[in-house]
């Protein structure tokens, strides 16, 4: 005790400079802003440049120095894309695939997540471990047998070949389960049970409304993932009935050397996800940040 008292009072030293104090309070200085703006520019540039090329005449892509500001030929190029390939069909297919997959993943994940978090049943922990384990499995590596199955079913070339394997995800179940653990107090469900509620009614009237924020985040991620999916649509679909990503591949690997056309298609293909991103960016950022911290 005395030892503590005798120690010289910490003279608020002339020491910590303004810089050190700022460091401690972690307020951003000008260099931080400069670096962040550079990162932002680097992130946005490729997408921006693709848009610029899409709005220029075809010779702009080969010009030196490069063209870096948008021109007035955007709609002309878009029209050319839709004239050259059946990009409308590809967009439609992608909307159907991503929409169905999103609704299904959100619904089944919410249902299973609720059961794992709030209902007791034999084997629950083993089954949950199985789900966590399968999250890490690269199912893409089963692509050959999956293709054989689809041929067997006569689904190869049809978009349900892309939809059906995507109807559930391990991540979705796990994500919703984590959310329910925290979001719904057990007492609330107990009270519901006392009133004679069947578990399906508990799900419908208590769990589902409470799950809305998490379900929305899961839906956003699932939609973007389904929209951007490349490998499986590439092998199972045909050039005549593609998703957007498959159509992009066909366009880029076709005989055309008109890269303005290809880049315009790439720009169009990012519009839906970009729209989702601009509308719900805050939720997407929050989702990644909260999904990462497991607990």
């Amino acid at each position: 005790m005395t030892a503590v008292l005798e120690r010289p009072a910490p003279v608020r030293p002339a020491g910590p400079s303004a810089k050190a104090r700022r460091l401690a309070r972690r307020v951003a200085g000008p260099w931080t802003y400069a670096a962040l703006i550079a990162v932002l520019a680097g992130s946005a540039f490729p997408v921006y440049w693709s848009f610029v090329v899409s709005s220029q005449t075809p010779d702009a892509i080969d010009s030196v120095p490069p063209v870096l500001v948008p021109g007035g030929h955007l709609f002309e190029n878009i029209t050319r894309v839709f004239d050259t390939t059946d990009f409308a069909l590809a967009m439609m297919n992608s909307i159907i695939v991503s929409g169905t997959v999103t609704l299904s993943v959100v619904f089944f994940s919410t249902l299973a997540g609720f059961a794992f978090a709030k209902l007791r049943f034999r084997g629950r922990n083993v089954l949950l471990l199985l789900i966590i384990g399968t999250q890490a499995i690269p199912t893409e590596l089963g692509i050959i047998p999956l293709y054989m199955m689809m041929s067997e079913f006569g689904w190869a070339g049809e978009i349900h070949a892309v939809i059906v394997p995507g109807l559930v995800t391990a991540f979705g179940v796990f994500f919703m389960r984590q959310y329910f653990e925290r979001a719904i107090p057990d007492e609330l469900l107990e009270a519901g049970r006392m009133d004679g509620c069947h578990s399906l009614r508990l799900f419908w009237h208590i769990a589902l409304p409470a799950a809305r924020p998490a379900a929305a985040v899961l839906g956003l991620f699932t939609f973007m993932q389904a929209w951007n999916d490349f490998f499986w649509p590439l092998v199972v679909l045909t050039p005549e009935n593609p998703t957007v990503q498959k159509a992009l591949n066909e366009l880029a690997s076709g005989y055309t050397t008109d890269y303005t056309l290809v880049l315009t298609a790439a720009t169009i293909s990012t519009v839906p996800v970009l729209a989702v991103f601009l509308l719900f960016g805050r939720q997407i950022v929050g989702g990644i940040m909260s999904g990462a911290v497991k607990g």
């Binding site: 670096a35 089944f108 047998p145 999956l146 578990s199 690997s253 720009t267 960016g281 990644i288 940040m289």
Partner: protein, 306 residues
């Protein structure tokens, strides 16, 4: 009395069996379309199954694997895969740490910056690769133009092994760094500021604080990110495929200089229609991924936590 019986029975049925009904859709669909194909890959890899030759398949046991291990194209593809794994995973984690550190300051318009770093992650891999392939173009590419300004001269990015790997790695790093940065940021915000204040009073500068406090405390997230990144980066397919699109896209360059193992799997399976051989590649790639992820785990686990 009968009524109570009925309610009780219904209640017991509900608590005993209904939960299985709720989790069943997941297990059914995943079992049929996820797990089964994966396991069946092993079976197919033991067969001679070439759709071009005939519709019949027969067992040849480990012949596909014997052929694979003697196949120089396969080893070339595995070498490219490992090179790209290193060139993507390491910068991804390091840049992500740096960006997270920047974002962890008290910044105005922080939502804008956070959305900015995640923007690349929401764009599709096909679109990104098509865009980057143009940026890395030999004659009119923007990157060569910039290099020219500095007098570095033109680089034929696709032609060389090293240059093509750098170009492809840059696409992956661009697309994924922000995602990992946000994961790190979330954990950084949970570090009590008193730790930094104490360190500042002890005279530790920013760099020391970063390596001695921040990084060790982020160890679990760094391990997580390394493993996630590894499983993704070991099976790159769209980037090498679309970097050089065209009739010979599946070979990954004229000399297979950027053909990854996943792309070789694609070439054997869906351009040569040799399903048995292709499945053997899938199995070996899966095992290699587990080994490399384990390696990544061992390395990141050694981050000091004092």
């Amino acid at each position: 009395m009968a009524l109570i019986d009925k309610t009780a029975r219904r209640h017991r049925w509900d608590t005993k069996f209904a939960p299985y009904g709720y989790v069943a859709p997941y297990f059914l669909i995943f079992g049929v379309f996820g797990l089964f194909p994966l396991l069946y890959t092993v079976w197919v890899s033991l067969q001679h199954r070439n759709l071009v030759e005939s519709a019949d398949a027969y067992f040849i046991w480990f012949s596909n694997y014997a052929q694979l291990f003697a196949d120089p194209y396969f080893w070339n593809a595995m070498g490219n895969t490992l090179s790209l794994w290193l060139l993507t995973t390491v910068p991804q984690i390091l840049f992500a740490l740096g960006i997270a550190q920047l974002l962890n300051r008290k910044v105005r318009t922080r939502t804008l910056f956070r959305m900015g770093v995640i923007l690349p992650n929401i764009t599709s891999v096909a679109a990104v690769t098509i865009i980057f392939a143009q940026l890395f173009g030999r004659d009119f590419g923007l990157i060569n133009w910039v290099l020219d300004l500095f007098g570095a001269g033109h680089i034929d990015w696709q032609a060389g092994t090293a240059t093509s790997h750098i170009a492809i790695a840059s696409m992956v790093v661009w697309r994924w760094t922000g995602y990992h940065a946000l994961i790190f940021l979330a954990s950084m915000q949970a570090i009590p500021s008193s730790l930094y204040e104490a360190a500042t009073l002890d005279g530790a500068n920013g760099r020391q604080q970063f390596w001695r406090i921040t990084v060790p405390l982020l160890r679990p997230q760094i391990i997580f990110s390394t493993i996630i990144a590894t499983t993704g980066n070991m099976r790159l397919l769209a980037e090498p495929l679309l970097f050089n699109p065209g009739a010979a896209a599946a070979t990954g360059g004229s000399d297979r200089q950027f053909q990854t193992a996943a792309l070789y799997l694609y070439e054997q399976g869906f351009s040569k229609w040799d399903f048995g051989y292709s499945s053997a590649i899938a199995v070996v790639l899966a095992i290699a991924t587990i080994i490399v992820a384990g390696l990544g785990y061992l390395v990141t686990k050694r981050i000091r936590t004092e």
